[in-house]
Structures are given as structure tokens and as C-alpha cells.
């Protein structure tokens, strides 16, 4: 597959909305290989050494928002492929005072980055970056727009459990309005053949979300009935300040996933969460730690998907 697939993958991974099913499946197949190799390594076997794939390339992670999981995941992915990794954590407030985003990234580009992994609180910021740099740009989350590698890693975890997403129903519950994870998942999973339902209080359901290719459930029961998986999204305290929610406990009363509400879900159905979890709010501890929870597998898939994204965007020649 290597080179011909690499040719058709875009140089920048800005969003899943505009990727084709073929592009997504190609990336997932490569990620599945990387994931198996990681499992071998964990089991003490010696997998293929992938450090040659991006040797001599530099990958810069540029985070304008706090993140532990996504950034370390990208860094491990880049290092596993042999790239040099440089990380920048920028405080947006200090940026606002001085250098513009455009100037910041032009400088990093001039230093010689081959890939810029960008997380930014403003929707569309990675596209702005891609317009002014030579490097490949990988969106690691932009505002409430997209978080492409999250959508891909969720698809990978689900695909490995199910074989295919065709005909499956996935419910996404929580703060859809502010969630880039929800948007990337709607695009990604529906392209792979799944039906998506979103649910949450009306204050957290953005206008016209169904135009992205999902249905809106008006109750938790409606969201969960007959679903093959449910993804709980993080409920943030800011939502109380901006009057979208009275409080976390009140939210949990209607929309929280716990052992009791999960009886609405078929027994074999899976539970996902992009993390970090507010235990006891959107997801109770017993559910999070239960065998149906894919949460730790999602993290594992994350590294593999990011390896595949870097390899494809940077045109690495992956041997069979």
C-alpha cells in the first residue's frame, strides 16, 4: 500500500469532514499495523524498527491550550518513527499581547519544521497556519471545530472490536456544542458506515447539528436504546458560568452514564470517553472501569493513529 496511498493522502490533516472514506480506511489500516507492533513490543517481542520512517524529520508540537494526553501521544508517535521532536507550549494570552499566530508559525517554519502539530482554541487556526507554512500541518484540536486524530482513534478502537462500523449505531452524549471530538467523530464514523446519534440538554446541542449527518436524541433513553456504543463527553465547569447548565449534579441526573442508566444500553455495547473524565459526572467510576469501557484502548489507538497520520502527511515510505 505505502506509496500509492501516501500519494493520495493530503499533506495537511486539518479535518475529517473533507477526507474520503478511502483515505480514512487507508490511514486506519496503517494505524492498525502500528498498533499491533506496539502490542508486540509490550509483550517483550521485537517488532519492526520504525525509526527509519521519519529519520531526519522534525516534528514540532505547538500547543496553545493545555493538553497532556494528546501532546504526549503525538510526541511518542513521532519518536517511535525516528523524528526529532520539539515542543512549544504557548500561552495564548501572552501571544495576544505580542506575536501573531501567523508570525509565530512562520518562525517555526523557518527554523525547519517538517510537521507542525497544532492545537489552538480558535476554530480554523490550523488552516490559517497551513496557508503560511511549508511544513505539513496536523490539527490536534481547534476550538469546537475538529480533533481529527481523536475521531480516527475512536474509529480504530471500534473497528478492532467490531470488524466494521457498517450498520452500527454510536451515541455521543454530553456537551456537543463545544466539542470538536463530537464533530470529528460524526464525520469519521458516519463515513465508515455508522449511524450517529447525539444527545444532551438543548443548551448544549448546537443549531443544525443534524446537517452534519446525525440525529438528535431528546433523552438519554432515546440516545442509548439499541446503540452499539456510547461516547460520553466531558462536562466543563465553564458551562455553569455561561448558564448552559445549572450544575454537574443536575446534569448527571438526566444525562449521566452510570450503572443504572446503562441498563438502557444493550449488554454488549461499548463505552468510550475522549478523556479526561469527570468521574461521577458524565461517567461513573464503575462504568469507566468496567470491561465494556474502551477508554484505555482509545489511548493506545491514539499513538498508533498519530504515527499513521505523521507517516502519511510526511510521505514516509512504509515497507509492507
Amino acid at each position: 500500500m505505502g506509496s500509492e496511498m501516501a500519494l493520495e493522502f493530503p499533506r495537511h490533516l486539518l479535518e475529517l469532514e473533507t477526507l474520503t472514506r478511502g483515505q480514512i480506511e487507508g490511514l486506519l489500516s496503517l494505524a492498525a499495523r502500528f498498533k499491533r507492533e506496539r502490542a508486540k513490543a509490550r509483550a517483550g517481542e521485537t517488532p519492526a524498527d520504525r525509526r527509519g520512517l521519519l529519520r531526519g524529520k522534525s516534528v514540532v508540537t505547538l500547543f496553545f491550550e493545555n493538553s497532556t494526553r494528546t501532546r504526549s501521544s503525538f510526541e511518542v508517535a513521532a519518536k517511535t518513527l525516528g523524528a526529532d521532536v520539539l515542543s512549544f507550549q504557548k500561552d495564548v494570552s501572552s501571544v495576544a499581547k505580542g506575536e501573531s499566530l501567523e508570525d509565530t508559525v512562520r518562525n517555526l517554519d523557518a527554523i525547519g519544521a517538517d510537521a507542525l502539530v497544532v492545537r489552538h482554541p480558535a476554530a480554523g487556526a490550523p488552516r490559517l497556519v497551513a496557508r503560511v507554512v511549508r511544513a505539513s500541518v496536523i490539527n490536534a484540536g481547534d476550538g469546537a471545530h475538529e480533533h481529527p486524530t481523536q475521531g480516527l482513534l475512536d474509529a480504530l478502537s471500534l473497528r478492532e472490536r467490531w470488524g466494521t462500523l457498517e450498520g452500527k449505531t454510536v451515541a455521543i452524549v454530553g456537551d456537543i456544542a463545544h466539542s470538536r471530538v463530537a464533530r470529528s467523530n460524526i464525520h469519521c464514523l458516519s463515513k465508515l458506515g455508522a449511524q450517529i446519534r447525539v444527545g444532551g440538554p438543548t443548551t448544549l446541542i448546537p443549531a443544525g447539528i443534524e446537517r452534519l449527518g446525525c440525529t438528535v436524541a431528546r433523552s438519554l433513553r432515546e440516545a442509548l436504546t439499541g446503540a452499539d456504543a456510547v461516547m460520553a463527553l466531558r462536562i466543563q465547569n465553564e458551562r455553569i458560568a455561561d448558564a448552559r447548565l445549572p450544575g454537574a449534579r443536575d446534569y448527571a441526573r438526566t444525562w449521566g452514564l452510570n450503572a443504572q442508566t446503562l441498563t438502557m444500553l444493550p449488554k454488549e455495547a461499548l463505552v468510550l470517553h475522549p478523556g479526561p473524565v469527570n468521574r461521577g459526572v458524565e461517567l461513573s467510576s464503575d462504568v469507566l472501569d468496567s470491561p465494556r469501557s474502551l477508554v484505555m484502548d482509545q489511548v493506545d489507538s491514539g499513538v498508533a493513529v498519530r504515527m499513521a497520520a505523521l507517516a502519511l502527511c510526511l510521505r514516509a515510505e512504509v515497507p509492507k
Binding site: 499566530l101 476550538g143 471545530h145 443549531a207 446537517r211
Partner: protein
């Protein structure tokens, strides 16, 4: 005398549309007659052959940001007025949200004087409603009026306090000066970057519902009704506002309104890089193009259509550009952080004519809204070719195709969503008070 010979004269103020010759005598119109220029006249007067051209009253633009004083890097009164002349705008109202805000006679006189010095277009100042446009205490409206302000407005922001707005309308009503409002309930629009709806949701941008505009229009119409004062609603963009203004006019409220070319040309799709159906062949911009960011935002197609219908019907009286120059520092940034607004003086007429070509607006109505319809909003004597009127006249090549190139704009700023668009209809000559201020080379 100057004779504009045998052009197609369209003068909505006087119900004229036909081949006529316009005689300009000094700074005023001597007459508009059917007879072409005679050989004898050609010996003593300047005769300009206007056959195949349109001859129109100069355009009146009630809503222009000239940025001087305070942000001369974006525009000055001279460069803005020069752009106005190139766009056929002979009279413009300069918004007071400069730095400092135009809330005193000294500043209003400064703006008017700079306009006169530049000489490209008639620059009429607007004064603030409230001191510093902070929405708290009334500005010195009597003094502003004496200094030449033709309306008061806190444009760019609403007067959030209904109590202050009520008193402003009463006080301005006594003075006979219109109160122009930027209708926006800030508590509904907080944090928003574009119109609320499926496009905002897809792009992950926070949206402002049309209700943020409509609620304020409704409030101000009630207060105008209560006080009997003259309310002018700036940049109407929502169907609900059109409905409210229509109802208010029907019950006799003293209200006038304007709409901007971007609101009747584009929709919220532009933020995602989409083009309107009537302009499908034009070059599309990238998603998150900050030149598609304005306030009020580009709305839904149903809103656009409502605005166009209101222009035809006369619910909206005027086409006004809301010309809002910004530099790269304010526009080449993340969408949520970008400044609102676009330049518009040089594209206004061609975009208006595009509505006529698409069959959505009739030619006489279109031109009336840019000329006498706008002038009447503020009781200005311009926008007419009537005998004795000030000779603000433009000659237009209605068929000339031209490509919008912001690098060639007369404005200091380049923030337009119409870059690369091929438009039809170009102003070839502009006269202000009988003086040629702009001439287009072939």
C-alpha cells in the same frame, strides 16, 4: 457649463429614465433636457459625450467608517473619500466610532473640514448618541447638530440600556436629528463570531442568533413609537427585523432603515468558503476567511431574500455600505479574533446592479435606494438631478466588466470578500458639486 450629452439619465427623484442631456452650471444642475447638445453649445461649453452611458445622481452612503482620527493606518478621511468618488458615492456619512469617538463639536468640525480639504466627496459627520459611545450619558447632541452632524449613532455597539435609549430618542427628537442604531443585544451575541446555524456548528464557531438583532430592533421601534422620534436602523440583516420595521411603518412609527451590499449579496455560507447561487462562477475564498466576518454577521439565505424584498418594497429605504477598513493585523488572524467588517465603497454600485441582473430588484428601486431614498432618510437635499440641485452626478458604464483587485483600491485597506470577482458596471466619471473628482481610465 458642462453638458453631459445624451446619456441614459436615470433619476428616481424625478421619475426620469430616458435619453437626456444634463446641464451643470457651476455647482448646481441647470436643467435636464431631452434635446442633445447643440453645435453652438459645443463651442462655448464643455460637452461630454455620454451616449451609451448612464448618467445618475451621485450616490448617497449613510454608513461609512473613515477611521480618522485615530486609526489613520486603516483609512483617512481623504483616502476614504477618494474611494467613495471612485465608487460613485458623492455624499457619505462618517461614523463617529473613531479614536476618540466623535462626541463633540470640535471633532465633528474636524471631520467635516478634512472632508472639504480632500474634496473628493461630501463628508457629513455623524455624532455619538452617548459620550464616548459608552451607552451611559447623552452626548452633546445640540452642539453636534450645530457642527453639522446629520444623525447621532453609537454605531459598532448598541445602547444596551433601554432607559438611556429612551432619553436619547426624546432629546434627539426635540432637535429633529435621527438616531441611527446598531441593533444588537450583546447578551445574546457574547462570544459569537458568525450567524448561528448549521454552518457555525460545522465550523465550530460560536453563533449569534438573528434574535440578537431583532430583539433590539423591536425594542427601539417601541421606544421610537413611544417618543415619536426618528429611528434609523443601520445594516438590517435579519428577516425578523424586516418584519418588525414593516409593521412599525404600517402603524406610523417614524423609522427608516438601510441595508448593506454584503448582506444582500452573501450569506453565512461565505464563512465556509461557499458562494451565493447568483455568483456561482466567482472565485471562492477559503473557509474561515475573515473577510466574511462582519457585525451583523452574514445571515441565512432566507434573511438575504427578506432584505432584498424589503429594498424593493421600500421597507428598507437605503443601501449603505458600512465601509469598514481594517489592516492585516486585524484581519490576518484567527477568525474569532478578527475585526468585523469589510471595505465597500468601490463595489457597492456593481453589487447593487448584480441584484438587478439576477432579477431580484428592479432598476429604479435599486437606484433610488442608493440615491434619493438614502438622502431622504436624513432629510438631505442630495441624490437628485432636479433643476437647482447640487450637481452631484455620476457617469456609469453599466456593461463594463472589471475585476475586483484590492491592491488597486483607493482605500488604504484591502479587506474585501469580493477579491477576484468579476463585476459589471463601473463608474467612469464622478462630479461633486459640479467638480470632476474621479475619472476612470479605459
Amino acid at each position: 457649463m458642462i453638458l453631459l450629452d445624451s446619456g441614459r439619465v436615470i433619476d428616481p427623484a424625478n421619475g426620469i429614465d430616458g435619453t437626456r442631456t444634463v446641464l451643470i452650471d457651476g455647482d448646481h444642475i441647470r436643467e435636464v433636457r431631452e434635446q442633445p447638445a447643440m453645435p453652438a453649445e459645443k463651442l462655448v461649453h464643455q460637452v461630454i459625450d455620454c451616449r451609451g452611458r448612464w448618467v445618475l445622481p451621485g450616490l448617497v452612503d449613510l454608513h461609512v467608517h473613515l477611521r480618522e482620527p485615530g486609526e489613520e493606518g486603516k483609512e483617512t478621511i481623504a483616502t476614504g473619500a477618494r474611494a467613495a468618488a471612485a465608487g460613485g458615492v458623492t455624499t457619505l456619512v462618517a461614523m463617529p466610532n473613531t479614536k476618540p469617538v466623535c462626541d463633540s463639536a470640535a471633532l465633528a468640525r474636524f471631520v467635516a473640514a478634512r472632508g472639504r480639504e480632500a474634496g473628493f466627496a461630501r463628508v457629513l459627520p455623524a455624532g455619538a448618541i452617548t459620550r464616548g459611545s459608552l451607552g451611559e450619558q447623552l452626548a452633546d447632541m445640540a452642539e453636534l447638530k450645530e457642527a453639522g452632524c446629520v444623525c447621532v449613532t453609537d454605531d459598532g455597539r448598541p445602547v444596551m440600556s433601554a432607559g438611556v435609549m429612551r432619553r436619547a430618542l426624546e432629546y434627539a427628537g426635540d432637535l429633529g436629528i435621527p438616531v441611527m442604531v446598531h441593533a444588537e443585544d450583546l447578551t445574546l451575541s457574547a462570544g459569537a463570531a458568525m450567524n448561528e446555524g448549521p454552518i457555525a456548528t460545522r465550523l465550530g464557531l460560536s453563533g449569534v442568533p438573528a434574535a440578537a438583532e431583532v430583539a433590539m430592533v423591536q425594542r427601539d421601534l417601541l421606544l421610537a413609537e413611544m417618543t415619536g422620534a426618528h429611528l434609523h436602523v443601520a445594516h438590517v440583516s435579519a428577516q425578523g427585523s424586516v418584519r418588525a420595521i414593516r409593521d412599525a411603518k404600517a402603524r406610523g412609527v417614524h423609522v427608516t432603515a438601510e441595508a448593506a451590499p454584503h448582506h444582500f449579496t452573501l450569506t453565512e455560507e461565505a464563512v465556509a468558503g461557499g458562494l451565493p447561487r447568483a455568483h456561482a462562477g466567482q472565485p471562492a475564498a477559503d473557509p474561515y476567511d475573515t473577510n466574511a466576518k462582519m457585525n451583523p454577521p452574514l445571515r441565512a439565505e432566507s434573511d438575504r431574500q427578506a432584505v432584498v424584498a424589503a429594498l424593493e418594497e421600500g421597507i428598507i429605504d437605503a443601501i449603505a455600505t458600512d465601509h469598514a477598513p481594517h489592516g492585516a493585523l486585524d484581519k490576518q488572524v484567527e477568525f474569532v479574533q478578527a475585526a468585523n467588517g469589510i471595505i465597500g465603497l468601490e463595489t457597492s454600485l456593481a453589487l447593487t446592479l448584480a441584484l438587478v441582473r439576477s432579477g431580484e430588484l428592479s432598476l429604479p428601486r435599486a437606484l433610488e435606494r442608493c440615491t434619493v431614498g438614502a438622502a431622504r432618510c436624513f432629510g438631505l437635499p442630495y441624490g437628485t438631478l432636479g433643476a437647482g440641485a447640487i450637481a452631484d452626478v455620476i457617469v456609469v458604464d453599466s456593461e463594463r466588466e472589471w475585476k475586483v483587485d484590492p491592491l488597486r483600491s483607493w482605500s488604504k485597506s484591502r479587506n474585501t470578500p469580493f477579491t477576484g470577482w468579476t463585476l459589471r458596471g463601473k463608474v467612469v466619471k464622478t462630479f461633486v458639486a459640479g467638480k470632476l473628482v474621479h475619472e476612470e481610465s479605459k
